[in-house]
């Protein structure tokens, strides 16, 4: 039998050996590229030769009105995030009443999560088209005067993308809030009700604080989706247009590099996106920590 000393050192050795393949894979295809992106963001780069230009790519981009237009699109999508969270929260509340067939409803609401953005985008394209389903509904209700070709105007197209995004988040966020509601301590509600608290008061002072962790998780997931998962949807639905009307930062990265061949700017935009997500993520963690103490 081995002595505990050598056993412990053997355990550590095996541990390092076991972790190495994952480390190698993630370093090679995520770690090194993110460092390269940092480096190439300071260069003019066409994919073959890179010329060091320092901060000029950054300063050039800060003076580019299209860049600000793109950030504005991200900002407008961000405004949709509360909707994409509150709506499912309401659904989860109703489902939590365990009405007949609630499990079937849950399955149906989550179904779009299994479908690719390409497919969702293709259906959404027909839904919002001039002769599409939505305008058909408007006509059907005698509202043909608000019939518009959503995808032909910048604001209309962004609105269509945002609505599709909100729709597709219903499943995920409903599941998150349902999970949260399953952890609620109902004895607290009863005690409060005994003390004469109103339903609204119970919701605000007892339910919401208990759900905080789930609200934060839902927020993170929703922001990540809005800013980094909509490429395929935009690619299929609008191609970023009309103009730059639906070009978000993630789509702009793709365009810069693979449509215009400006890899240096693409890398730089990638770095900006990375910092945006990191700040949101770390800020969120910090808020969570400070509230828990």
């Amino acid at each position: 039998m081995l002595s505990s000393q050598s056993l412990s050192s053997q355990r550590k050795r095996v541990g390092i050996f076991f972790a190495l393949p994952a480390l190698a894979l993630v370093s090679a295809f995520l770690g090194i590229p993110i460092i390269q992106a940092g480096y190439f963001s300071f260069t003019q780069w066409d994919g073959i030769t890179a010329v060091w230009t320092g901060l000029s790519t950054y300063s050039h981009e800060l003076h580019n009105p299209i860049f600000w237009r793109v950030l504005e699109n991200n900002g407008l999508l961000f405004i949709g995030i509360p909707v994409a969270m509150l709506f499912p929260m309401g659904i989860a509340f109703l489902l939590n009443e365990k009405v007949r067939g609630w499990k079937a409803f849950r399955t149906i609401f989550f179904l779009p999560t299994a479908v690719s953005w390409v497919v969702i985008g293709m259906v959404a394209l027909r839904f919002f088209a001039q002769e599409g389903t939505l305008n058909g509904l408007f006509s059907g209700f005698g509202l043909s005067f608000i019939k518009t070709d959503f995808l032909s105007s910048e604001n209309g197209a962004l609105f269509a993308v945002a609505v599709t995004f909100i729709w597709s988040m219903v499943g995920t966020n409903t599941i998150i809030f349902l999970t949260g509601m399953a952890t609620l301590d109902s004895s607290l509600n009863e005690a409060a009700r005994m003390d004469g608290a109103s339903n609204f008061r119970i919701f605000r002072s007892i339910t919401l604080p208990q759900l905080r962790r789930f609200i934060q998780f839902s927020f993170i997931i929703t922001v990540i989706s809005a800013f980094t998962a909509l490429f395929s949807l935009i690619f299929v639905m609008t191609g970023g247009g009309p103009g730059f009307g639906t070009t978000t930062l993630e789509f702009f990265i793709f365009q810069s590099a693979f449509s215009r061949g400006d890899f240096g700017t693409g890398a730089m935009l990638g770095v900006i996106l990375f910092f945006m997500m990191a700040i949101l993520g770390v800020g969120q963690l910090a808020i969570m920590r400070s509230k828990e103490e």
């Binding site: 972790a19 393949p21 994952a22 390269q36 489902l95 149906i108 179904l111 952890t183 490429f231």
Partner: protein, 266 residues
């Protein structure tokens, strides 16, 4: 109370129609010819027939399957090993590695895709499946490792110690004890990754250059970007491409939800 239940039921039913609408639209439209879609009445199989000439459907389904199997196998091998190491074979190195893994989960695909693409092209990984397989595997590994680590943490240390005392080495403990016990988490990883990889467009679009190796989602994206294919044909393709992931979802719903909520450290 009864009336309230009915009101909720009706609201949920209405919502269910909204959520299921794309499927109704796809099914209904795909069984129409282009003329029928544009107003003529009736249904037909002509769009489904056209789909198979517009797109090498069988080949692309096979490609998607190969890419999924390749990437998921890689993810499983490295993430179960790393998860076991980080939970049961801890050293000073583990904490640092764990932070690195969580940090890697924060990296958006778009931030690394340009350098990764150039690297893959220099390494000649773009001509077959390998470029896409490696990128998908690298993107999936951080979360899979996170999931496996938290799952293996739940296994009692005494179990491992007892096995070591019985003369098993750590490699055997991993393959004979940890892996069989880890099957629920492994299934969750498979289901999550399958849906993610099957549905992805961007990586497939860039890292698979030869059209013969295209996955079905990329094939469909390319077909729709061309804007020459009729809508019913696109809907038939969409429906077909969605079926495998939807089937996996319906069968493994519970595992998928577990995977989602595992991120909350529940």
């Amino acid at each position: 109370m009864k009336r309230r239940d009915i009101a909720i039921f009706l609201t949920m039913s209405l919502l269910a129609v909204v959520m299921i609408y794309p499927f109704i639209f796809m099914i209904n439209t795909s069984f129409k010819s282009n003329q029928q879609f544009l107003g003529a009445t009736g249904h037909s199989l002509s769009s489904w027939k056209k789909l198979f000439t517009a797109m090498p459907v069988g080949r692309q389904l096979l490609n998607s399957t190969i890419v999924c199997i390749g990437a998921i196998s890689l993810i499983l091998v490295v993430s179960t090993m790393a998860g076991f190491a980080l939970s049961k074979l801890r050293s000073r190195f583990s904490a640092l590695f764990f932070i690195g893994i969580v940090g890697a989960m924060l990296i958006p695909l778009q931030s690394i895709i340009i350098p990764a693409y150039i690297n893959a092209s220099k390494l000649n990984l773009l001509s077959g499946y390998w470029g896409a397989i490696f990128i998908y595997a690298a993107l999936g590994t951080p979360f899979a490792t996170f999931l496996m680590t938290s799952y293996f943490r739940g296994l009692p240390d005494e179990l491992i110690e007892a096995a070591i005392c019985d003369g098993l080495n750590y490699r055997k403990v991993f393959t004979k004890i940890a892996l069989p016990l880890g099957i629920p988490a492994i299934v969750t990883v498979i289901v999550l990754q399958f849906i993610q990889i099957w549905d992805d467009l961007l990586v497939g679009l860039l890292f698979i250059q030869d059209p013969n190796y295209r996955t079905i989602t990329v094939g469909l994206g390319a077909l729709s970007a061309g804007r020459t294919t009729s809508i019913p044909v696109l809907m038939a393709g969409s429906l077909l491409s969605a079926i495998p992931a939807v089937a996996v979802y319906l069968i493994f719903q519970r595992q998928l939800v577990n995977g989602l909520t595992a991120g909350m450290g529940k």
